[in-house]
Every structure is written in C-alpha cells, then in structure tokens.
Symmetry: C2
Subunit: 397 residues, 2 copies
C-alpha cells in the first residue's frame, strides 16, 4: 500500500468519482466557493462521522438524515460550500440546507436522501440561496473525472486554509482519494473541518464505518489545537466498488487510516498562526482515558503553548498544567521529556533542562505521570502565537 | 461596614499587625523581594485555602503543616518571597522551605509550627538560601506597624504584577486589612496568587475558615482567566482579637468577602496583557455546577477570547463553545446577551447583533442554555491579546 505526494491526489483519483467546483459568490473574496463530488457507482456505500458539539449546523443534520433515510448508508453525491456555515440559523437554516440537497438531487437525477450537504464559513448568517441555487446547476454541468476536477473541489472548500489539502492511497488494484479543509481545529466559528474520502474499493457500510471511526480516533480526534469543536465538522467516506476489488477489513483500515493521517498532518501544518507542531504523549497513569485527559489539559494550556512559541523549555508549566488534569499521578514522580531529552525527573528539574533546543518546527513532549500505570495517549497541538490572536480577533473572522 | 480606596490600605491597618519588606536579591531586577507579616496577638487564630493543583510547591506544604502542627489553626507570622516559587525542587525544596520557617521562627522567638511560608516566582529553580537567610534577619529588624510597612510588603511580593494590591474593610470597632499578588491566574509558572488578610477582630479558626471559603468561592475561584491553577496559590487570614470586638459570623463573612472581592478585582484588572474584563453568566441549565462548567468552558475558549480582544460581538463562537460544555442545554433554544443586548435568541442571530458595541473595557456576557433549569453561575475572565502571547512566550518568564 503506497502513498506519495508526487502521485496524483484527490477525490477523483479512484475510479468512478467525478467532481466540480465553481464560484457562486458566497465568499466575499470572489474565490471558488462551491464543490460537488459525485459517486458514479456501481455501489454507493457510505459512512460518516460528525461533530460532537451539541450545537449542530443544519447541513450536518441533513447529512445525518441522508445516511438513515431512503437508501440507508448510501450516498450518491456530496455538495459543499465555503463562506457560510449555515449554523445557528434556526428553521430557515434547515429549510436552506434541505433545499441544497433537493437542488443537487434534481440536477443529478438522483434521490434527495442520497445527498450529503457540507457547509463551512461564518456562523449565524443566512445562506444566500439565490447564489447557491445557481451554483448547484453550474456544478452539475461542470463535473469531470480529471485530477484537476478534484483539485478544484479541494480549493473551493477552503476558508482560512492557506493551501488545499488532498491525499491518495494506492492498494492492490484499488485506490483511496480524499480532500479536506480545516486549520487544525482552531476556528470553529469557521466550521472547521470537512473531509471527503472516496474509494473504488468494494466495501460494506459497516466496514467503511469501522475503518473511518478507527482512523478518526487516532488522526482528526487527536488534533486538539485549542479544544474547540466546530458546529459543522464532517468526515465522509464513499465507496463504489468500481475497482472490483474487495479489500480485507485490515487493508481497508490501513488505507483509510493513511488517508486520514495524511490529511490530519496537512491540517495541523496549516493551523492558524502556527509556528510549531507539538506532539504530546502522556503515560504512567491509570488508563488511556486518563492519559488522554492529561494530554488534552496540557495541549490546551495557553501558558505552555506560549512557551512553545518562544522555544522555551519551561517544564514547570508542564507540571502546573498536568497537575490539574483528571488523571492518576504521583506528584513527586512526574517526568518530562522535550525532544527525547529529560528536563524533569521525579518532579524536579534535570541538569541542562533550560538549554534543550526547541527552535525547530516540531516539538515532541513526553510526560510520565509516574504511577507505573499502563495508561497512555497522545494529542497533537500547536503553539499560541501573535498571528493566532491577530487572525482570530479580526471582526467576525 | 465601609471600604474605600481613599482610606489607608493594607495588612498593618488592623491593630496588632506589623510588617516589613527588604531586597534580598532573589529578583534579578533588584526590586524588593521578601516580606514578613507578624501577628502581635493577643490571639493567633488563622485559616487558609490553597491551590487545588496536585503539583504543590514546598512552601504550601509547610504552611499546610503549620496550620495542623503545634498550635493547630494558629499562625504568628507569614514570610513571603517573590522571584522563586520553590516548586518542583524535590527534597531540597522541602528542606529549604522548612529552613525559611525555622529562620523566621528563630528571628521572631516563636514556634516554627506557627510560621506560614509563601513563595512566588519561577518554578524549578532552587531557592538562593544564602540570600534568603540574610533576608529574614533583616526583615525581623525592620518590622513596623505604619501603613508604609504594609505597603512595602505588598510591593515586595509582586512578580509580573504592575501595581501592588491592598485592601481595607472597616467594621464597627474592628478592621480587616489585606494584600495580594497575582495577575488574574494567568501565570501559574509564576506561582500566581498569594493573599494575606489580617484582622483585629476576635474570631475562631472555624469562623475564619468558613468566612474565607465562602469568600474565595465567589471571588478568587471565579477568576478564571485561562483555566490555570498555580502550584503555590495561597490565601491566608490571621485574626488577633486586638480590637476586643467579636463580630457575628455574618459580619465576619461580609468583611472577608469585601476584602477578597476588592483584591480579586485588582487581580483581574492587572491580568497579563488584558484589554478587556469579561464577566460571563450562565443560566437555564440543570444545576449551578453545570452552569459553572459552561461558564468556564466559554471563559477558556481562545476563539471567544480573541473575539473579545477584537470587540467583535461574534456570538457564533459563544454557541460553538458552550455546545461542548458538560451541561444540560436545549441546542435550539440558547440565548446570548452582550452588555444586556440580545445577540442570539433561540440559537439564531438577533437583529442588530453584529452592531453591538463592545469597545469598552468591561464586557458582560449572559448565556441562557434554554432548558428552563434553575442552575446559574458566573466566572470572570479576560480577552486574549497580543500582549498575553508576548509576556508568556519570553524565555522562562
């Protein structure tokens, strides 16, 4: 199973998927802002994972319903827009999201219950449905299976992203492609993360669902830049069996994981105002859940994140942060390693700790909570920089 | 009961308390860095609250022991230093903190078990005990009961504080004084918050403890600037009965609350890099604890805090943040008010929401989670500014 940046990337690389992108005028910038990904069959198996936020945008509700209604666990197309999240718009928001599915179904001649809708952008602004309506018609007329069609779709779903994000994974006679948008979970008001994965493998909805959930747990769900979770987060996988190959669950798991990991890396690297990519691993506590709680507590600590921005091996902030975590620990036996060098042993500074070099873009942090327990987990986060404040304090960014 | 900024302030205003401050050379700046507050009796009743962090600095352990050992719930003096937190220094840290208590007891001719030790500053650096030892001798020789002695002590315990913090509350024939240091909980690596309250009222340790805990719950514990809790946080109250007046529990509660509230206001106003003071109230959920969880979740959300810095009435970020809180809510019936103006009703934008003026230094946020439940709580937080990042990314600030 191979993946490479030099190979053609994106949702149209697997057989039997077409895509289109157009400028509907939703983004003030005038950049492309709508995309369509169509599964041409022969099969239409699908699975998805959604935001855990209780405040859920209308398009998410429409997509959740599409996977249950009509042909359960089937999708024939996903329509995307950027620039407006259609979140917190009340009954009108639901009406508009359903209309987007209806227009798309009509344009493609398929059932409305097989259409996913994904929106990303500002919360609390009504969708400009006149522009969207015309946009969907144009999308349907511009569909194509070239790599450039997929690339156009990946660009059209960008918001504060600085680069489009695509991936490809090649199995034995079958392929997984994908696109994503998002800037490291840092902008939930921009309805942060959308991912669409396509494959020409033959795979049941249950197999897709299992592979996708496992992959998300160790990729997108570990990307915890500021603890925020958007109202619109959606990850969709569509499989059409066009390759005639039915991979084993293990092979499918591996390919979906590789695609998600590649996109998650790109999301983290493009997080708003990021100068450092920080991986935090916690061990030596009672359970994996406790380790995850401690890793997240540290990953969300602004003082720690500012220290990372300053390339400052300030391990005291690590102890102060994890000391508040809901995890078993021995307060007198905590160890901290920066880039594999011990900076704190038995909760006390190690020789040379202040001289550890954190000037590189990648920083590895390991915290052993010292109980001897088997619990372990990791999260990936970023530093807290001037640019983060700048980007996120501009009026309704 | 009166309090006023124009009255003399500080720990020496109540009868029977003396204080001193000196420069021991712990702070690189050469500013005063040690202080001593002595209770001259006749009574020595005391109570204290401490950090909830599991990683607890050595001086905190010494003070906790002092309140249990020898004469339980009595303190005759508290010795302070700034510039070094004596946290995460292992066995040597405990030896040094005990030595500070011993030196102070010897210099004052009192029992070591009646000495509180409070340190604030960098974590993980050994205390320069030669400087501290000489400093304690000088402190004991410089004690005085003038208002200037208390003011000197308040200045000596500052770290990144830009102004000293003192308070006074006058009852009928008795007085409460106090000093504090801290910058709105924003710098746990600087061992954020120390408060010392003195009173010449006659009050039992139990009465003091009850008054102090109630006061802290609605003052210092609501100051939740970035969710951080220091290794050294300590709030001490000492009562000597020198006034001969024994206030009722209600009167004591009220006076201690006023003193704590005044100091908490000063801490919040002096938080690092602050341009906005934000009060968040949450109601309409299942319990006060749930309301507090939601208020804290919002108060810690960096995107919301960046919006406050930008005076941006971005209520979508409020919904996205509280949607992740561990609190009962009706996701379709959340209301948000900025400065008493509705910006979101039934989880949908209110007319004129984007035009609400947040340009002032104080912003009031009210969130109704829409369940009709009785739970309510508030926290006080700040914005997230360029200066916050600047101050906290400098090397081992």
């Amino acid at each position: 199973m191979t993946t490479s940046e030099t190979l053609p990337q994106g949702v149209t690389v697997p057989q039997g998927f077409s895509a289109a992108s157009i400028t509907a005028g939703i983004k003030p910038s005038g950049n492309p802002d709508m995309a369509l990904v169509v599964n041409q069959g022969p099969r239409f198996d699908a699975a998805a994972v959604f935001t855990r936020n209780r405040v859920v945008a209308a398009p998410v509700k429409v997509t959740q319903a599409a996977l249950k209604d009509g042909n359960p666990n089937e999708l024939k197309a996903a329509v995307f827009n950027a620039g407006n999240a259609n979140a917190c718009n009340g009954a009108q928001g639901m009406t508009d999201a359903k209309k987007m599915a209806e227009d798309t179904a009509l344009a493609l001649g398929v059932d409305v219950s097989d259409i996913a809708v994904c929106s990303t952008g500002l919360i609390g602004e009504l969708m400009p449905m006149d522009k969207v309506h015309g946009g969907i018609d144009k999308l349907a007329k511009n569909l194509g299976t070239e790599q450039s069609h997929g690339a156009g779709a990946a660009a059209a779903i960008m918001t504060t992203d600085t680069v489009p994000k695509q991936t490809v994974v090649h199995g034995q006679g079958w392929t997984v492609g994908g696109m994503g948008k998002g800037v490291g979970m840092m902008a939930p008001s921009l309805a942060t993360m959308l991912v669409c994965i396509t494959t020409d493998a033959q795979a049941s909805p249950a197999a897709l669902d299992a592979a996708l959930r496992k992959a998300c747990d160790v990729t997108f769900n570990t990307l915890d830049v500021d603890g925020s979770t958007s109202t619109n987060d959606t990850v969709i996988v569509m499989a059409n069996g066009a390759s005639g190959v039915e991979p084993s669950q293990e092979e499918l798991d591996e390919a979906i994981l590789k695609a998600c990991a590649d996109l998650a890396d790109q999301l983290q690297a493009d997080a708003e105002g990021v100068t450092k990519r920080v991986k935090i691993t916690v061990k030596g506590t009672g359970s994996d859940a406790q380790a995850l709680n401690a890793a997240r507590t540290l990953g969300r600590d602004n003082l720690f994140k500012c220290a990372m921005f300053g390339s400052d091996p300030n391990w005291g902030r690590v102890l102060a942060a994890v000391g508040m975590a809901d995890a078993e620990m021995d307060p007198d036996n905590i160890s901290v390693f920066f880039n594999n060098q011990p900076v704190c042993v038995e909760s006390t500074g190690a020789p040379g700790a202040r001289e550890v070099d954190l000037s590189g873009a990648d920083i590895d942090v390991l915290v052993d909570l010292g109980t001897g327990g088997e619990g372990t987990a990791f999260v990936r986060t970023t530093d807290l920089s001037h640019d983060y404040v700048e980007i996120n304090s501009a009026y309704s960014s």
